[in-house]
C-alpha cells in the first residue's frame, strides 16, 4: 500500500512536470527541435546504411559467392590506376591451363565486356555487353533465364547473332511486351533476342546490375566487337573453396604467363567476398562519420535541453520554495523537473520520427527519374520508434539530471525569498 501511494505521488509529479511543459510550449518546441534534427539525421543515416547494405548484397549476387574472377585489375575502391595500366590483357588461352591443372575450378568461361549502343526502330539505349561461353548458362548468378533460352554450343561455334537480354530491354524497347524473337541492333549489327533475364532492380555496384545486360556468344562478340572491351575469366568453384581456389588460380596464372619468381603478379584474382570486405570498410566509414556527426548533434541538443532546464529552475525558484514549504520532498521536485526534461526530449524525438515517416513515404512514392520505376532504397522500421524513444528518455534524463538536482536541493527559505 505504501509503495502504491508512492507510485501515485511519482505520477503526480510527472503530471506537474508535463503541465509546465504545456505552459512554456514555444520554448519547449524550440529546444526540442535540436533533438528533432538529431534524431532525424541519426535515423536517416542508419536507414541509409542498412538500405545500402541490402542493395549491395543484392548487387553482389551478380558476382556470386562461388566464383573466382581473373582480370587485369583488382576489385578495389582505392584503385591505383597507374600501377595496373600497363598490365597485359587477359588471354583466353589461360583458361586451358586452369581447366587442365586446377583442382578447385569446376567450370570456366570467358567474359568479354563492353558497352555499346542498342537500337530498335527509333529508340536507342546504352547496354552492357558480355561475350561468354555456352557454359556460362550454368554460371549465371543473381538472375536466371526467365523467358526463352540461352544460346547453344552450336550457336557459339557458328558465331550466331543471338542475344539474351536483361529486364530493361523489354520495358525500354517493347513497352513491356515479350521481346523473344524480336531483332534489335547492336553497334549497327542486327541480333535476334532468344532469351530474357529475370529483372533485378537497381543495383549499387558499377556494372553490377543485370537489367541493362546483353549476353551473346564470345565468338560473335569477338567477330563484331573485338576492338573494344576487356576480358575476364569467370571460374566456377564452391563457396568454401574460394580462398584455396584463388591461391591455386594465382599460381597457375603465373606459370601460364611465365612470371619469374619474385616478380609481382601482372593480373588480379578477384572474388565477391573480397569486394564485400572492402565495401564493409567503406560502409563503416560512412556510418562512423554519420553517427559521429549525429552524436555531436545529440550532445548539443542535450546541452540545449539542460540550458532550458536551468532557466526553468531559475525562473521557478519561488515556486520550488513554495512547493517545498507545502510539503514537497526533494524527490518530488527532482521527479517534476526530470519529467519536464524527458517530455521535451520525447517531443523532439516524436517530431523527428514523424519527419522520418514523411521522408520515407515521400521517397517511396516518387520514383527516381530514368531508373525504370525504381525508388531510392530506404525503409522505415518500427524498431526505430522504440530506439528513438529510448534515446530520448536517456537524453532527457541526462540533460535534466543536474538542473533537477539543483532544484531538488534548493533550500526552501532561500528559494521563497528569491525575487
Amino acid at each position: 500500500m505504501e509503495k502504491l501511494l508512492e507510485m501515485n505521488n511519482f505520477f503526480k509529479n510527472i503530471i506537474i512536470g508535463l503541465f509546465s511543459v504545456r505552459s512554456n510550449l514555444t520554448r519547449v518546441i524550440l529546444t526540442a527541435s535540436g533533438l528533432t534534427i538529431g534524431i532525424f539525421t541519426v535515423s536517416i543515416v542508419s536507414a541509409a546504411v542498412s538500405s545500402i547494405d541490402k542493395e549491395f548484397a543484392k548487387s553482389m549476387d551478380y558476382y556470386g559467392n562461388d566464383k573466382v574472377y581473373v582480370g587485369t585489375w583488382p576489385w578495389s575502391f582505392d584503385f591505383d590506376w597507374w600501377k595496373y595500366r600497363n598490365r597485359p590483357k587477359i588471354e583466353e588461352s589461360s583458361l586451358e591451363y586452369i581447366t587442365q591443372y586446377s583442382e578447385y575450378i569446376t567450370d570456366v568461361s570467358i567474359k568479354k565486356n563492353t558497352w555499346t549502343r542498342a537500337t530498335y526502330g527509333n529508340k536507342a539505349s546504352w547496354v552492357q555487353l558480355n561475350g561468354v561461353y555456352p557454359s556460362y548458362q550454368d554460371m549465371l548468378s543473381g538472375t536466371k533465364i526467365e523467358n526463352g533460352r540461352f544460346f547453344s554450343q552450336n550457336e557459339w561455334d557458328l558465331q550466331r547473332r543471338v542475344i539474351i537480354v536483361g529486364g530493361t530491354v523489354r520495358d525500354g524497347f517493347f513497352q513491356g511486351k515479350d521481346p523473344i524473337g524480336k531483332k534489335i541492333r547492336l553497334n549497327n549489327v542486327t541480333f535476334e533476342i532468344i532469351g530474357e533475364l529475370k529483372k533485378q532492380g537497381i543495383g549499387m555496384v558499377p556494372g553490377g546490375t543485370l537489367d541493362n545486360l546483353v549476353i551473346m556468344p564470345s565468338t560473335t562478340f569477338e567477330r563484331i566487337l573485338t576492338r573494344w572491351g576487356f576480358d575476364e575469366l569467370v571460374l566456377q568453384t564452391s563457396p568454401e573453396d574460394i580462398p584455396l581456389a584463388k591461391e591455386e588460380v594465382g599460381m597457375i596464372m603465373r606459370v601460364a604467363r611465365k612470371i619469374p619468381p619474385g616478380d609481382d603478379d601482372n593480373f588480379a584474382v578477384n572474388s565477391a567476398d573480397a569486394y564485400m570486405e572492402q565495401f564493409n570498410t567503406m560502409k563503416n566509414a560512412i556510418a562512423g562519420m554519420g553517427f559521429l556527426v549525429t552524436g555531436i548533434s545529440l550532445v548539443v541538443s542535450a546541452i540545449g535541453i539542460m540550458n532550458v532546464m536551468f532557466v526553468s529552475v531559475r525562473e521557478r525558484t519561488r515556486e520550488i520554495g513554495l512547493r517545498k514549504a507545502m510539503g514537497a520532498t526533494n524527490f518530488n521536485i527532482l521527479t517534476q523537473f526530470l519529467s519536464e526534461a524527458v517530455a521535451i526530449a520525447i517531443i523532439g524525438g516524436s517530431v523527428g520520427i514523424a519527419l522520418i515517416r514523411l521522408t520515407v513515404f515521400g521517397l517511396a512514392s516518387f520514383p527516381i527519374p530514368n531508373f525504370n520505376g525504381a525508388t531510392l532504397p530506404i525503409s522505415f522500421d518500427l524498431l526505430l520508434v522504440f530506439y528513438t524513444f529510448t534515446v530520448c528518455v536517456f537524453i532527457g534524463v541526462l540533460a535534466g539530471l543536474i538542473p533537477a538536482r539543483t532544484a531538488a536541493n534548493l533550500n526552501p527559505i532561500d528559494a521563497l525569498r528569491d525575487e
Partner: protein, 229 residues
C-alpha cells in the same frame, strides 16, 4: 494565558548560528517558547532581530543549531529533509506576505498544491479544495487565475491553501503587508474567525495595530525573546 491548554510546540534553549565567512551571526540565542492549542500569537521585532529565523524554525523550514524543538511528540530538531517535508505538509499551513500563488494555476489548483504531496486521491483532493475555498468565501472564484483576483482575494486563496490539509498551526508572515487597509482588515477579521473556530495562528508582523488583535504577543530583539505576554 491559558496554561491549561494542550501544548503543541515546545522550543527549549534553541539557538541558530550562521557562519558567514569570518563573522558568526547568532540569529537566535537560547530561545525557549511554548505554543498551545488555539493560541493566536503575533511575533514582532525590528528587521534582523531573528523573528524570521524563529518563524522558519517553527515552520520546520529550518532546524536549530542547538537546542530542542518538539512538535506535539515529534522531535523536529533531529529530523532529515524528507521528515521535515512531511511535517510541513501535514501539520503546518503557510500564509505569505506576497501570497505566493502559482500564476498559471487557477484558485482551485493553487489550493490543491499541498494535497498533491499528501497521499489523497484526486476526488478527495477536489472535495477538500472546494471546502477550503468555501471557508474563505471564494466558492465563486474557483476557476479564476491569480491575476483575475484582487489582492484580498488572492490572500484568501492563500489562506484556503494553508487550511486545506487541516494543519495544527497556521503560520502567517506579514499577511497584510501587501494589502490596502480595507483588504488587510478583512484578512485580520478572517484570522480572528479562524482562531474562534479553534485554529492555532502564529503571525509575524511589523504593525502594532495588527499585533493588538492577537491574544498573545512575543517581541524578539537581538535573537532573544524580549517580551511574551
Amino acid at each position: 494565558m491559558a496554561k491549561s491548554k494542550k501544548e503543541i510546540i515546545s522550543i527549549q534553549s534553541v539557538s541558530k548560528i550562521y557562519n558567514l565567512g569570518e563573522t558568526v551571526v547568532k540569529a537566535l540565542d537560547n530561545v525557549s517558547l511554548s505554543i498551545y492549542d488555539n493560541d493566536y500569537i503575533s511575533i514582532m521585532g525590528p528587521s534582523g532581530s531573528g523573528k524570521s529565523t524563529l518563524m522558519n524554525i517553527i515552520g520546520c523550514l529550518d532546524v536549530p543549531t542547538k537546542g530542542k524543538y518538539k512538535f506535539k511528540d515529534e522531535l523536529i530538531s533531529e529530523m532529515d529533509d524528507n521528515q521535515l517535508a512531511n511535517i510541513r505538509n501535514e501539520k503546518i499551513g503557510f500564509v505569505f506576505q506576497t501570497f505566493n500563488l502559482l500564476p498559471k494555476l487557477n484558485a482551485m489548483q493553487n489550493v490543491e498544491v499541498p494535497l498533491i504531496y499528501s497521499s489523497l486521491g484526486r476526488k478527495e483532493r477536489i472535495e477538500r479544495a472546494e471546502e477550503a475555498l468555501h471557508i474563505v468565501g471564494l466558492q465563486d472564484r474557483m476557476t479564476h487565475k491569480p491575476n483575475e483576483l484582487s489582492g484580498g482575494q488572492r490572500q484568501r486563496v492563500a489562506i484556503a491553501r494553508a487550511l486545506v490539509n487541516k494543519p495544527s498551526i497556521i503560520l502567517a508572515d506579514e499577511p497584510t503587508g501587501n494589502l490596502d487597509s480595507k483588504s488587510g482588515n478583512e484578512i485580520l477579521k478572517f484570522f480572528a474567525k479562524l482562531h474562534k473556530d479553534g485554529n492555532t495562528i502564529i503571525m509575524v508582523t511589523h504593525e502594532e495595530s495588527v499585533a493588538k488583535l492577537s491574544k498573545r504577543r512575543i517581541d524578539i530583539f537581538d535573537g532573544k525573546i524580549a517580551r511574551d505576554e
